[in-house]
Symmetry: C2
Subunit: 436 residues, 2 copies
């Protein structure tokens, strides 16, 4: 325990992209403050990049640069490897090699953890070497530490998160400025809030990776990527958002993790969802993220902040470095990833239930609503209300329904039947109405 | 470091009131989960109460009860003393004695820390024995750990908190149900949200104690109670809230802590304040608390939850016990209370500035507004807008002004002159309009 007061923590940094450069920049900028606060110096000993010649906003310190990832492992003076190269292959090999050599790891790589975390945490456990990953979920929001440490005395009842800033920006602009989806996406790309290839954000999988990590921490229950139900926001139109508003709701891409106490099963899904307009989650706008957690002891809590970006994400990496410098969390059983057997299996998505928003585009002729209502009735799905807006394109008319609580599996069967009706023109749009 | 895997953490609990009973109840309830998560058992070895015969919601375990506080210190098997007796005299002696014997302390006593924390943390530092106090600020919200650990790499730019649930409940009910202050206070008392003697909540001092702790953690700058400017909500009327709404604002009791970088001075105050209606802090209602923190690296973050109550507060105490069980935060320099000299002195309140809401009750006759405007003009205080509502009691007429940015000292001089005008009927009501 005394070691840390003698010598600086020697850091090997892998990757000098957006986040890597931010960590370097902010560590230098706030070095004096950080060292006063934690009582130990942090020193970056080597930075490994693929292409040292690349043009960068933050200048690479030439004396620290290498192109050899192995050099981070081989240098015994390096205490800690910070993996910020992204991807799941080279990153996996790097983290594995570091752990096997007993080097602490800090990573912000949600895809790596969601897809291969189980393997890595088994190695960490065996080697009694910690992995820190605050930056992997929700950027600057300290949600990992909150779940692992602050809520440690709670059975987590549910987690509901707006954890993809790109989607939240697009949905916010569609809501507030009445933009169409392609316009809003284009704007997000121009502002740097969406990547040139935005697929992984837009299709919900970035949020899904984060949700797998949060579920693991909350329930010690590992949900494989194949077992999480994920929908993106690609199909949501400006009109769906307007109809949702008429019913009193705001549309958000929501990751939901919920314990079903009777079966000890974990509901885990990412879907565009309707949230009551007055709910605090509905006021989370733009690129901001927020996570609402209910615990059996703490009640309702919410954590809000920037879910991405160079500076917010490096705030989380630096807090992990401080934890490592002070030897916090070096104990076993703290990784959260190793299933501890207290909770059960993922709940099949078809067994979840909620209320729903459903929009169908149908032939503009008498009897169409009756046909739709008959299909829903055949499946015992109650209709709460219907809007048939008068202003629409000739020929095809939207019918917007709010449906009562029903099993998702039942809804999917009914949807299949609706699709086969002659009067239906397009793929119906279905969204959950969340009970938060 | 291995010690914790062998033996249970032995806890001596002082106090079995609302929070003490909650800690006991929830530790028992969630024992299996907690022990799985942290890998160490927590055992309550003794509970000290003043009156064992008192009727309680949670039954006192008879075999653990004592009335002798010294027994917690004298029993060498007790690793940790949990101080939940409240007050600042016996509690001070207990915490001091525990630290001097090298026993870790957990406390939720904000008054103790705000008034005598400097002494206690000096002892803790000397004895290298940690004090944990997550429960002292904002109940179940893990704001202490967030500032101490998660934001450790940030210069904190500002902290703005709704950190008194009683006041927030009263103001929420005055806003939403149009209640008068006495009605809302009465309702809060009937619901158990306000004490029979609500003075310390209502006059702002409960929030001030918490703000002193947050300022200390944020800036390593100890602000004595005499140097913090505190106003309560006693003078706010339903009409002030209505007028604020007309201008687009919501009234909240806000604790504000802000670094003035040019002077390295710390602004620290508790006042009823106007917050723009669309701001996320304006949607924090009822007994909920929230703290908005801006850091130079993380940007804007917000932490929301129950700020009081048996269960939420015990969630924080239990997380401190888990930290202690795992020997987290045993390092020096982590208390936050010891001034580390990076930031300066408290800023005198008269040197702070903002926009203001001002209501005066004046004689209902021509020329009154001119007199008021002249006083303000003499002090170079700009008027942004004026409401003179037509519906009012005969004789006395309210004049409601939104004032431009001005020094608080200047405003106070102008207020003194306004009071001396013959046409002014009552003490004017002044509130800050916050820039968040």
């Amino acid at each position: 325990m005394e070691k840390h007061q003698q010598q600086p923590l020697q850091i090997g940094l892998a990757g000098f992209g957006n986040v890597g450069a931010g960590v370097y920049k902010n560590l230098i900028k706030n070095r004096a403050l950080l060292e006063k606060r934690i009582g130990r110096a942090l020193e970056i000993r080597r930075i490994v990049v693929r292409d040292p010649a690349k043009n960068r906003d933050v200048a690479l310190p030439a004396d620290l640069v290498s192109t050899d990832l192995d050099s981070l492992i081989d240098d015994d003076a390096i205490d800690i490897v910070v993996e910020l190269i992204g991807g799941t292959d080279r990153a996996f090999e790097l983290v594995k090699a570091a752990l096997e050599k007993g080097k602490t790891v800090v990573t912000g790589n949600k895809a790596l953890l969601a897809e291969r975390g189980l393997e890595l945490f088994a190695i960490a456990d065996e080697k009694k070497t910690p992995i820190y990953f605050e930056a992997a979920v929700a950027g600057g929001i300290p949600i990992i530490k909150t779940v692992q440490e602050s809520l440690v005395g709670n059975h987590i009842e549910s987690v509901a998160g707006i954890i993809n800033g790109t989607c939240n920006y697009i949905l916010t602009r569609m809501t507030e400025a009445g933009l169409d989806y392609p316009e809003a996406l284009n704007e997000a790309q121009n502002l740097g809030y969406a990547e040139a290839d935005p697929t992984l954000d837009i299709n919900g999988w970035d949020a899904a990776h984060k949700a797998i990590i949060l579920a693991s921490l909350s329930y010690g229950c590992w949900v494989p990527t194949e077992q999480i139900y994920v929908e993106g926001i690609e199909k949501i139109t400006r009109r769906d958002i307007e109809f949702a508003q008429r019913f009193g709701y705001t549309v958000k891409l929501l990751a939901v993790i919920r314990l079903h106490p009777e079966s000890s099963a974990i509901e885990l899904r990412v879907q565009p969802s309707l949230i009551p307009r007055g709910h605090i989650l509905a006021s989370v706008n733009g690129v901001f993220n927020a996570i609402l957690i209910r615990g059996d002891v703490v009640g309702e809590t919410l954590f809000y902040g920037s879910g991405a970006g160079q500076d917010p994400t490096s705030s989380s990496v630096i807090s992990d470095l401080a934890d490592a410098a002070l030897w916090r969390n070096t104990c076993e059983g703290q990784t959260g990833f190793v299933p501890h057997g207290l909770y059960g299996k993922p709940l099949p998505i078809d067994e979840t239930d909620s209320k729903y928003y459903l929009r169908v585009e149908a032939d503009d002729q008498p009897g169409v609503l009756a046909q739709i209502a008959r299909v829903l009735g055949d499946h015992d799905i109650g209709i709460l209300s219907v809007i048939q807006p008068e202003d629409h394109d000739p020929g095809s008319a939207p019918i917007v329904l709010m449906l009562h609580y029903a099993r998702f599996g039942t809804i999917r069967q009914a949807l299949a039947e609706l699709r086969s009706l002659d009067c239906i023109r397009e793929e119906p749009i279905l969204m959950r109405v969340e009970s938060l």
